[in-house]
Symmetry: D2
Amino acid sequence: MKSLAVTTDHQLEIVEIPDPVIGEDCVLCKTISCGVCNGTDTKILHGTFKGFNTYPCLIGHEAIGEVIEVGKKVKQWKIGDHITLPYLEVGPDGKYAGYYSGWSAYSEYTVARDWQAMAELGNGPGTPGFWEGYYTQKVLPKDIDPVYGAMVNTLREVLNACKTFGFGSGQSIVIFGAGPVGLTFTTFAKLLGVKSITVTDILEEKRDEALKAGADHFINGSKEDVITEARKIYPNGADHVLDAVGINSIINTAMHIVKDFGQICVYGISPTLGMELNWADAPYNWSLKFLQFPNKVDEAAAHDQIINWVRMGVIDLKDYVSHIIPFEKILDAFAMVERKEPCKKIVIKY
Amino acid sequence: MKSLAVTTDHQLEIVEIPDPVIGEDCVLCKTISCGVCNGTDTKILHGTFKGFNTYPCLIGHEAIGEVIEVGKKVKQWKIGDHITLPYLEVGPDGKYAGYYSGWSAYSEYTVARDWQAMAELGNGPGTPGFWEGYYTQKVLPKDIDPVYGAMVNTLREVLNACKTFGFGSGQSIVIFGAGPVGLTFTTFAKLLGVKSITVTDILEEKRDEALKAGADHFINGSKEDVITEARKIYPNGADHVLDAVGINSIINTAMHIVKDFGQICVYGISPTLGMELNWADAPYNWSLKFLQFPNKVDEAAAHDQIINWVRMGVIDLKDYVSHIIPFEKILDAFAMVERKEPCKKIVIKY
Amino acid sequence: MKSLAVTTDHQLEIVEIPDPVIGEDCVLCKTISCGVCNGTDTKILHGTFKGFNTYPCLIGHEAIGEVIEVGKKVKQWKIGDHITLPYLEVGPDGKYAGYYSGWSAYSEYTVARDWQAMAELGNGPGTPGFWEGYYTQKVLPKDIDPVYGAMVNTLREVLNACKTFGFGSGQSIVIFGAGPVGLTFTTFAKLLGVKSITVTDILEEKRDEALKAGADHFINGSKEDVITEARKIYPNGADHVLDAVGINSIINTAMHIVKDFGQICVYGISPTLGMELNWADAPYNWSLKFLQFPNKVDEAAAHDQIINWVRMGVIDLKDYVSHIIPFEKILDAFAMVERKEPCKKIVIKY
Amino acid sequence: MKSLAVTTDHQLEIVEIPDPVIGEDCVLCKTISCGVCNGTDTKILHGTFKGFNTYPCLIGHEAIGEVIEVGKKVKQWKIGDHITLPYLEVGPDGKYAGYYSGWSAYSEYTVARDWQAMAELGNGPGTPGFWEGYYTQKVLPKDIDPVYGAMVNTLREVLNACKTFGFGSGQSIVIFGAGPVGLTFTTFAKLLGVKSITVTDILEEKRDEALKAGADHFINGSKEDVITEARKIYPNGADHVLDAVGINSIINTAMHIVKDFGQICVYGISPTLGMELNWADAPYNWSLKFLQFPNKVDEAAAHDQIINWVRMGVIDLKDYVSHIIPFEKILDAFAMVERKEPCKKIVIKY
């Protein structure tokens, strides 16, 4: 089968590798779609993903697969099921066909493991190697388009982040960045009952998108002083200030905006890992919370609510996807990302 | 002005009473609309409202009013604002123009009090007479129709109840009653991420409505054994069983359905106040939670989320209202309720 | 080895049964001590334990055992460790040597299973038969006397109940019953920061014990009207009313005492399972919470705090134990319980 | 009366100022005792207290006063009551007798305000100037010595911090600093059920004190590598790492010790306000929480539990106090602090 590798000299390459052979606790999936992740995928590509340093590797981690073969111990899935987040697993040498794992989900065939079947085989919760990520491999209902359905993987993460950050009734939030992630946070925070949201971005054309997504206010950071404007809206400061971009200096700005006992939330991953902070800019009591690799148990818990919202028409997956590109042209898709062309989610279709 | 009274012999009567004179901490409202509450209004009418025994009284408690006069200490409201939950307040004798208070909100003019202005006058939080209900008097944004807006008062209560009962991700709920209240609970529980909802009612025609509202399963209680069917769906029992009707025997049935450490939630108010319970039917660990008069601080906290949902198109207030009836015909509206004609919310328009 | 059986005609009998043979995931324990449980043990004896109907059976469930043999997969325990809550496990026929299980912990030898070793053998969390009770089998530190240490099993349950009921800062609690359970609740609630505790009992001699245990007030229920006196102390009602006795009529009394949005907590198990309740006596909003078989995950979570309290001198296990009786005289111990002789915990010593 | 001032050139001076005249909502207190706060007091003295820059000022904020005069609106206090946290209030010019307020509690006479009486006078919750600090002015029971009782003010703060940081069952904590604050955190965390505590300090003589206070492990930071040793004890990292000293570099060290989804808690106040952080040292998900000026509502909520612990003998206030110094010698007390002589709390007695 074909897959997408990052070489040791940080180039993308479509490679031919053997099809996966599944264990008794696994299902084999024909990959239907896989979302391109501007964050993790490109960081692995460029060698800037914190804590990751093994190349060549296979990448991709936002797939939907259709079950085409079922291991005999598996109980929760059957032939034809659409599954979220299938992967490829590595062997004892840490590799799959000579490649390290960057989750490998761009492969034409992928695998999901039934955690309950794992438990019966002695590899379940409580055993050394058990990975909670298996909890996130869940059935995508058939009435949801499995190509756009790749978006469910991302939306679960953002909803989980909203809950981990504690967004809720009566609160005020200032969100830095009106890209796809920032706007999704805007919509979800509003659905969760947040009272007032201000989005700030340096592009004026983001104003309408932000307001449409649910923002109450927009600050154009290229024309206005964000601290001054945010303080006009929230004289006592905002309950939360969210970095949905991943630029360290946002934290310094946010310290001037967050209220006493408020929280600065960092979801974006800065490519620069060190920074100078000045506590004098912040209130007496505040938190800085980094959420950069979601807890898989919590992410799994967000599945139902996203599925409910999609089925009830509260959110439309198509609103979050700008391009559907066949796997054959996946290098074009990445080229587009590299050129930083404005887009929402790109989904690779198989 | 005109208002709606319940006489000492439990008859409804449109009466003429003086217009309210407001204090410095109040706004005078021209009543725009007021929802008919099948629960409280009719119980007061029939003398079966627990703890209420003072007649004649004025009723109504789901109004929207437009501010037409502003007390000089008031800060949070201005002329033209639409306000949720205005009332009439009684004098030192506990009456308004000779009538006791059943909240009196069917009156043509009503009053809201600014709790912050109250505080500055020495009547705020911490003083003996302070009523937290003032927190629920909030601005209804102008882009929401103020006639259908009366529904916001009800929806806040139901959303608050969902949160007080603790409905959330991964849970299963069995809801007794597919009337307007039961269906609203169904939709809201689903929006809050509940995994599986079963609605049961004795009318087959409620099946489609329940499924449309978000139910995953429907049990026709007149044809099927509810306990048996519910246990098929939830072999270990349901996390929550909700009485959205107000019939004591539902609690006895629910004991057979609720799971260990589960909760029976009583939102409907039974006209019969005593009952026989048999612990043997329930699991070892369970709760019975009565929520029959919402905490006003919590109800106020639900305001933002309902407003957000309305403005984002998640819910449509028109879906919850079946009749808009002019105040002149309010007795016809109540006659309809007395005949138990199938309907959703009736809103009285002024 | 010897063990204690309840015969089919509900008699206690010391019986001779084979020693346990342990699996790879188990440790064999020499039983050191086992607390007598006036609740569960005597209910099983008399055939009134809800949901239990299989005789003859072996009883006892509050043991401490010393590890004398270690299964080869076991990691968390070693020879000589003192373990809380060892049991005997039944075979595929649901029996051990012909006896059903009432937890069987009065046996001279008992067994604990390492849940992590179970997981590696395919019987861990997520598999059908997994029992969370294994989490409660924890090491009792060597500096705690293992005879009095049997009390740790009970105290964990009560502390867990306090947390499940939500006892905490600023609250008021009325506790029915100044027996060992009621007094332990009194002390623990006070340690958890509860502001005011009133204990009521029908014996005047309990007054001093209650005050010493941490009560702020005592009501003698045989001389004073409990509702009247409790309402004098808490004019708006109490946050919690706890039945630490297990008499249905306490719930009816409690309804008059609990405040709006308060909770009636039932920890004692009434031998009579049905009762008549009158909602009219209660406030609009209230809960009735039954906790009669603790959640084992939560009970395990209480272990550390009890151990800390014992080691820091906050509580003295000896204060909770009135009799230490050798296993040979266990029938005398039960006779004493049957005669309802006033006592605290009886611990059987091996 | 006499009081303690910090002059514009940052010198301490005993000054003579007029006695306070109380309002209707206040009580006048004869100051009994006041704790010396090595943190705030000395920072104000040296001009390094974040956000404070008004001199000359009066300092002291850990007093106990005995009520000697009661304003006519006051309800919660009476003559003879011992009150926690009385202050002096400034006039409209922000001063008391020409001095700005550093809380002024070293004065011979101090004042407490009854927040409920304030509410009735129109200055309660909801009014612009209302200060939640009034909630912390509570009665110290007469059976607690009011000189040592000054310690209650401090202990409430630390207990509140433990709860705000979320210390509880099953957790592991590494505490930097075995001074009085660090040791109090150690004891309180243990009382709250924390499973394992490691204390680190650079003085070997702190080892025994730390273990006695409840620590499970001690690392001598002057002889051992703290990161290496802490990782040996907690291979996956610690749930919480607490800076109880106030040195920025502790945060950098803590990043290597905190587990994924763990929290670095900063209670000590660093005199240096800026620092360089390197995200690369931390896990993917973590929080940095600064608590440097407690929320007064929460601090008040900790009062009951501290009082309970003192009265039940769980903690002995005398263990926390090393010196009781008469007010006449208060300058000697501060000289001792300046010399950094090893000591626990110094209490000034009037």
